[in-house]
Symmetry: C2
Subunit: 147 residues, 2 copies
DNA sequence: TGTTAAATGGAAATTATTATCACTTGATAT
DNA sequence: ATATCAAGTGATAATAATTTCCATTTAACA
């Protein structure tokens, strides 16, 4: 929780530094993204905030996500089915392991990824700026039939 | 070229095995996907075929791609900007290196990926079925300012 | 050839996202 | 504190990509 507050503050600071206002709507969005519990979708965020902010517009959620993406403070996770979910807690690209049954997302630690990045740069002669690595499968709990 | 014919034949055979008809439109789509030069988009495919098949409908291209995806004969490459491109030549998941400037796509050889897959399965206790690995950057030719 | 289920073309429907615009408000200077 | 004003918001319209619908056509097989 302290972690999330800290993360919110970082995002707020970054926004101020870039001359953006902090509105209540924006702050509510930031708080959810700073936690990013379960990697929320735009709809998830919208619904959560609507509970105590009934006039919150979907457009505002979209606008703020675009802004935060452009500042590098949220990571967009685009899924093969076209849906998008967001991570404002760990906005740097990192691998995901996704359960295709219950949609749970786990962040594995893969030390070998940096090495691989170098390998790719060397082999292809590209300047690598960014990457995306997702594994899809079934989590142990779904495999046990608990899902 | 012989390669591409062979690949087309494989796809056609798979379709017949599953009780699908081979129409001229379908075959034209298959031929382009079997080659997958430059990883075509739906629009690319549609335009190429329109040249000598003016009534070809966009819906038909979409329908056939859905079908071929479901049979595991084309791989959909979904990009962060929401656009999709397709690979019917190498339909198994494989890493891509994408130039964000000229949109060129290179398929690097990464032997360590299998190893990583095992590592992830072990660490997360998931049964890994599928994956997606893309690197984004600038190719050497664009870096040299030729783009 | 005749039959029939599958495929097609064209248009309408759907979905996710972005743009528009009149109105409101947070941040700054006074 | 209050006035000012650029930035932000809400509601809705517009856009874009994809899917569905339906009447017509056609590939496959008897």
């Amino acid at each position: 929780m302290a972690d999330h507050n800290q993360r919110s503050d970082t995002i707020v600071r970054k926004l101020r530094e870039n001359g953006h206002k902090i509105t209540p709507q924006r702050l509510a969005i930031i708080k959810i993204l700073a936690k990013s519990e379960g990697h929320p979708s735009v709809e998830d965020i919208h619904e959560q905030i609507r509970a105590d902010f009934p006039t919150m517009s979907l457009a505002t959620v979209y606008r703020n996500i675009v802004l935060l993406k452009s500042l590098g403070e949220v990571l967009e996770l685009g899924f093969p089915d076209g849906s998008n979910r967001y991570d404002g807690n760990k906005p740097a690209p990192h691998p995901h392991v996704i359960c295709i049954r219950c949609k749970k997302i786990v962040d594995p630690v893969l030390d070998s990824l940096d090495e691989m990045k170098k390998e790719v740069a060397l082999e292809t002669d590209f300047k690598i700026l960014n990457h995306r690595l997702d594994f899809f499968g079934i989590c142990s709990s779904c495999m046990a039939g608990k899902g």
